[in-house]
Subunit: 436 residues, 2 copies
């Protein structure tokens, strides 16, 4: 085994400097099992952050499927194969009735890029409404719809056909939860864009949104926002894209998809990350009408997307989610975590807000409840201390002051208690609240 | 097992209509081994087309590696891991000394999309020179640099910052092999674009090219073209991107990379397809200087790219290429195929041109040697008849009249003979040459 020093040296030498590493003192992880990761010394870490390992690290059934299908056949989608059609059918059975046509890809970025292409072709327009702080991928086109990127470090600002609306953040946003008009306020921004496009004789193409803002800091929308915004966009001929890459497949607990919690249905849904439990697998699903319009003579072929191995893995992940009742688990453990974190919030002034749904949660840290000064360095310190105490979480949000929790879906009440106790101890010990 | 009728029905119902299937009477392939595929009835097919299954379908060593690493750990690149750094080192050891920094992605499309982003950031320009007929991927940005797509069915034409040059096709192009000035003629088109940009005060960003045009119809450049064109682009501050997605990893036989046959070196190289023998794996490699410039504050993180499983698979593929001497095999069998195909050409008027390098070959079919009328329907018919006789090939090129051969790299002389004999028999039987 290479020494940590040598791995770091080779990484500095050969790997893109644009790729950062977690924690001040990086981990050399060599093994994973369930909700745990193990470093080179055998130290065990509770993984409370890896939402890709949806059914748990190295789930034996996923690996057996991967192995068996890899031994049998892995080829492209130019031949008939059962796996792709059965997997598509199983995904579609879990979606609203009008979402009926699958495209398989290799990453959430590829899926969102394709979704934009489909919407732009359908509407013959590229005017896209996005939410500030949102992230939808790393391809050229998905960075364009990601304010988190184009307005962040190294970003080049927005393209003329991108129309951001403020994050409908009931905690920190320009209009807060206490205000009765919050819904009208945020939807009003969508209205303004649609009006402005209309006045200019321009067609809107799409509104792309997650149902809980991930990189935005686990922001839940004011009730009714997404549904109303989607309706307004559709009323003028635009399409609604639900980016379920982070939160799909039962993570929100109450529902299988995030948009279902928001009482709305998209025209196009994109999925990825957890879909293959780490195997590169993602998809776009849309309606027959939209798919037929996109079938304009230009082929969409993806060399790896939809291959028999990826589809076998995807089917097994779906089966495990159901058999192991992981959506129910996300619901129960999520509810428990939210309740207990709110108890911590009462006792620790550093905690400003607890939010999220199921196993997709955010803890916003602030230095001061009046001015809500983001406690970014404290959040970073806590995340590093949590790691030293065997728990992996990370930060997110435009101010880097939101501790995010999105563990494998097999996370138990005992795991939750360990996380809560450790966080509590750290907050007591460090007396962060003396700052307020 | 589902009936073929049912698989087709489900495919029609649930899978994107933009995804076509091979052959008039599609194959239901259920098993692969080495250079062979087997359908539901156990019928064996010689695979002479699948360049993704580089070291052979279901290579046991690749599968063992995939299985072992999947059982141990599959996580993202935010932790230290040996596989990513050792794989990067091994790739870089096979590249010219100045190409030193790796970015891992999940598909050739993601790689080319990233390469464009890197070049555009470096030059602060998006003026990109492309070759007519070229294909570089299915993301929004890569379709923009793919005349095969934007000028093909459903295409929306070229963007203002895309500058196509004619395919330097010595067989069918507007300047042919017999002309001594062929090099100057085609490079002259690059000159014109650079002059025109210069007059307009515009900076060129990049020239992106394969070293043998794949979708263009296995076109080899006139000697010196790529080297001279690259130099001219670099002379005015542009970058050269070598798209090795189709032909990298020894396929051209004489060299490990296609650009080496052209006696030039790129500033950025993209790779994919064969890299993981079917496992979604691809990469971009560039210089330290370019990578440092791109490190402008914007992170490049790829959820799956560079994970321990993908990198383990990639390392094993490299090891197999070397141990099984697959580059040498591509060289020898390619040379043999070219010689024998040229013999067929003498005997069959339908064959207009034999070209390519190693195991990346094209057979251009024409109805008439004077007017070179593309024999597209004949090519399609032959490909379907070859399939009925147990050999899988396909067509390519802007006129769909080029039969392409790009088999797994373990293709033997006996396999080559089977292909040659079958093709010969078909050409005799069908008396296509009576058309001339």
């Amino acid at each position: 085994m290479l020494s940590i020093k040598n791995i770091k040296k080779l990484r500095d030498q050969f790997i893109s400097p644009s790729l950062s590493i977690s924690y001040k003192d990086p981990l050399h992880i060599v093994r994973g099992k369930g909700q745990y990761l193990y470093d080179r010394n055998g130290t065990k870490y509770l993984d409370a952050i890896n939402n890709i390992s949806h059914v748990g690290h190295c789930h034996p059934k996923v690996i057996e499927t991967l192995y068996e299908q890899s031994k049998t056949l892995n080829t492209n989608t130019r031949y008939l194969h059962e796996n792709i059609v059965l997997y598509a059918q199983e995904l579609i059975n879990r979606l609203p009735a009008h979402l009926q046509v699958c495209y398989f890809t290799n990453s959430g970025s590829e899926s969102n890029d394709l979704a934009l292409r489909i919407a732009r072709d359908y509407t013959n327009s590229n005017h896209t409404i996005v939410i500030e702080g949102a992230y939808h991928g790393h391809t050229s086109a998905t960075i364009e719809v990601s304010p988190y990127k184009y307005d962040g470090p190294g970003g080049k600002g927005k393209a003329t056909y991108i129309h951001p609306v403020p994050m409908p953040d009931a905690y920190r946003g320009s209009w807060r939860g206490s205000n009765a008009d919050i819904l009208e306020y945020y939807v009003g921004h969508v209205d303004s864009i649609l009006d402005s496009l209309n006045r200019g004789g321009e067609q809107v193409s799409a509104f792309i949104s997650e149902s809980i803002l991930g990189c935005g800091g686990q922001i839940l929308f004011p009730e009714g926002f997404l549904s109303l915004a989607n309706d307004k966009v559709r009323d003028v001929g635009g399409l609604c894209i639900a980016d379920e890459v982070q939160i799909g497949f039962g993570r929100v607990g109450s529902h299988f998809w995030g948009f279902e919690s928001e009482n709305t249905v998209p025209d196009i849904i994109t999925m990825g990350k957890s879909m293959g439990n780490g195997h590169p697998l993602s998809a776009v699903v849309t309606t027959q009408e939209i798919a037929q319009k996109f079938n304009n003579g230009m082929e969409y072929f993806n060399s790896f997307g939809g291959n028999p191995v990826s589809c076998a893995v995807g089917r097994t992940v779906l089966e495990i989610i159901e058999k192991e009742k992981l959506q129910e688990n996300a619901y129960l453990i999520g509810k428990y975590l939210i309740k207990e974190l709110n108890d911590l919030k009462i006792r620790h002034n550093l905690i400003g807000d607890i939010r999220g749904r199921g196993l997709f949660l955010g803890i916003e840290l602030i230095r001061d409840h009046e001015n809500m000064v983001p406690a970014a360095s404290e959040a970073e310190e806590i995340v590093n201390h949590m790691k030293d105490r065997g728990i992996l979480v990370s930060t997110d949000g435009p101010n880097h002051n939101v501790i995010k929790i999105k563990p494998p879906m097999i996370f138990t009440k005992k795991n939750a208690d360990q996380l809560l106790d450790t966080l509590d101890q750290l907050l007591i010990k460090k007396k962060y609240n003396s700052l307020t």
